[in-house]
Structure formats: C-alpha cells, structure tokens
Symmetry: C2
Subunit: 193 residues, 2 copies
C-alpha cells in the first residue's frame, strides 16, 4: 500500500491491471498543491471476547481533510491456536502482520505494473515469518518477542522479462507502507483511560 508512482511515466492504455493510474496521478498532483490533505489517520477498534480471542472492527478513517469510511464495516477475529490451549477462533496477531505485508507488496506490484505498461496475469506471494517463542513466553530475555526474519517469495506471470518483474517488486518495496512499518521502527504510544 498504497501506490508506487514514478515521475514522468504515463500509463499505457492497452494494459489493464485494474488500477486506475490516471486517477492516482491526478490525485498526486492535487496533493502536491494541498499537502495537508495527505495526512491520513487509520483506525481500528478492538473488543476482548474471552481468553485470547478478540474482535477488531475497521470502518472509519480520516483523509483528504475529512472523515471517510469504508463501504462496509470489516470485522476480524484473532485468537491463538489449540496448541497454546486456546480455541483457534481466528488467526494469531502475528499472522495479521503477514497479511498486511503480503497485500501491501502485492497491491504495489499491480500499481507499478500498470504505471509501467506491464500486463500482469498472476501474482502470488508466499510469506514466512520465523519466531522463537522463548521471547514471548519469558524463557529467555535475549530472544526478541517478534519475528526474527520474514521471507517473501513472489511468483509473477506477466508480459515482461525476469529483470522487469524483479524491478516491479523492488519498486513496490520502495513505496510500501507496511514494508516500511515492519523494517523500520515506528513509535507506538499506549495509554489507559
């Protein structure tokens, strides 16, 4: 997420990956003139259910200077699997991070391909995040809580050379919001009211 544009390139009309690059280039010009409208706030609202099970809803956000909302409210169950004595009513929180990273890089590939006039036929990404749970269980304080490494493997079928496909993926990484969030430190403030 979101889009990965390069200056001075024009979309080719014969290629259709379903990304409206023309509208996005116009949006970019509009935001260049009114940078305040580029300030977004994304939101999520989580409610504990029982044990490690929670439900998180996503609907409203702020951007382009005003309140916005998704067409529908989306709701996500998170839980731990049965091997952790939980009920497995949803994916784990760390798997949600993989979902965000996968979808961000994939949307980026589609947007860059559109902008470069490359027709995509299929894009698949497999993600693997390795983690030593001695960290979260408090067994060894030298072991971090989060992923020690995430590997993303793309398989892309497109009207392009291997080099061009690799360049699509590289440009998607360069402009990916979630790739940035995961690979660089992000400030999180937690408070109790």
């Amino acid at each position: 997420m979101m889009h990965s544009f390069e200056e001075g390139m024009m979309p080719e009309t014969t290629v259709n990956n379903g990304v409206n690059v023309g509208a996005l280039l116009l949006a970019r010009e509009a935001l260049r003139a009114a940078p305040q409208a580029a300030k977004f706030t994304w939101r999520a609202s989580c409610r504990w259910q029982n044990g490690t099970h929670s439900k998180t809803n996503v609907k409203g956000f702020f951007g382009l200077g005003e309140e916005q909302k998704h067409k529908t409210e989306f709701s996500f169950d998170a839980d731990h699997p049965e091997i952790f004595a939980s009920e497995d009513l949803g994916v784990t929180p760390v798997e949600f991070v993989l979902v965000g990273l996968a979808s961000c890089l994939t949307a980026g590939v589609a947007a860059v391909a559109q902008n470069r006039g490359i027709q995509l036929r299929s894009v698949e990404a497999k993600l693997e995040g390795s983690m030593d749970i001695q960290g979260i269980l408090g067994i060894d304080s030298d072991v971090r809580n989060g992923y020690d490494d995430i590997k993303v493997t793309f398989k892309i079928d497109a009207d392009a050379s291997k080099k061009e496909i690799e360049a699509l993926v590289a440009q998607s990484q360069k402009r990916s919001a979630v790739y940035d969030i995961v690979t660089n430190p992000t400030n999180v403030q937690v408070e109790v009211v």
Copy 2:
C-alpha cells in the same frame, strides 16, 4: 500475542478470563527443557485478484517441532478505498497492521490478568495510526511510507485499581510480539522466483 508470564506467580482459581494459564506454564517448562520446539514459522499466502485487491489465506504453520494447522483456513481481502479509485473490497494493508497490534496487546492483557488473579469484565482498545501519504505517492522523499505514529487507548473494566490495570497493559506491551515488530526493525527478505 502470545502470553505474558512472570516468574513465581500462580493463577488464582477464582478468576476466569478464559486463559488456561496452567497449561501455558507447563508449556513454558517443557520449552525450557527443549528450546528447539520454541522455533515457530508463521505463514500467509497471497494471491492478486485485480487492481489493488488481493486475497491472503492463512492455515498452516510450523511449531513444537512439526507442521501444525489452524482448525479452519482463514481468508482476508485487502483493497484500497474508493477515494483512491479502488473498489474497497477489503481493509487496507496498513489497517491489518492495526488489527494485529490491537489483538496482540488485548490477548496479552487477558493472559497477564489471569496470571495475576485479576478478573476482567471488559477490554476495549482504540487504535489510530497517522500517516502522511505524500510518502507512498512519491511526492516527498523525506516523508516515510509507513505510520509516523500509532496511538493505542485502552479502556478496561476489571476488579483492580487503576495502577494494577496500567501494570497489566505495561506487561502486555513488554511481551507483545506485534508491538515488538512495529516498534523495532525486523528484517524482511523479498525474492522473485
């Protein structure tokens, strides 16, 4: 995620937050004796649909020395909203990061409360992530692509003092996998096959 244990504390049997702390303390002892079993790999498999829309499936993972799987396969649509000329068929990738962070800290609060003998009645977390989309749009290369700040606000009703509730949240942060992933750098390797 996952659990936030402290040495030398015992669960009180009169408190029930739905977290099986006894089983988890046994698991911790087992993993202390066999640390290799603590190495987990979490996976997600993403397939591009059209435009910025993708579907990511989550089912199998590796842990406790063998292949594991969730009881069901979970599938997540991601997309961009209509204001970005997309179809809004799912939440954005950056919102999935908020879902992961919210659910991780919330499950942690439940597990720590159980371990400290504190009965929870309700736990709500509101998350807000601010982002200047000049970064992802390539307008200003000094603006980062990801969140510049995430704020988490907990509202907790429990049989405990304000100080004890704040301490629950602090301990959950200390052991949270997603909090660690977001606040600290995590290596991501991307390759094309």
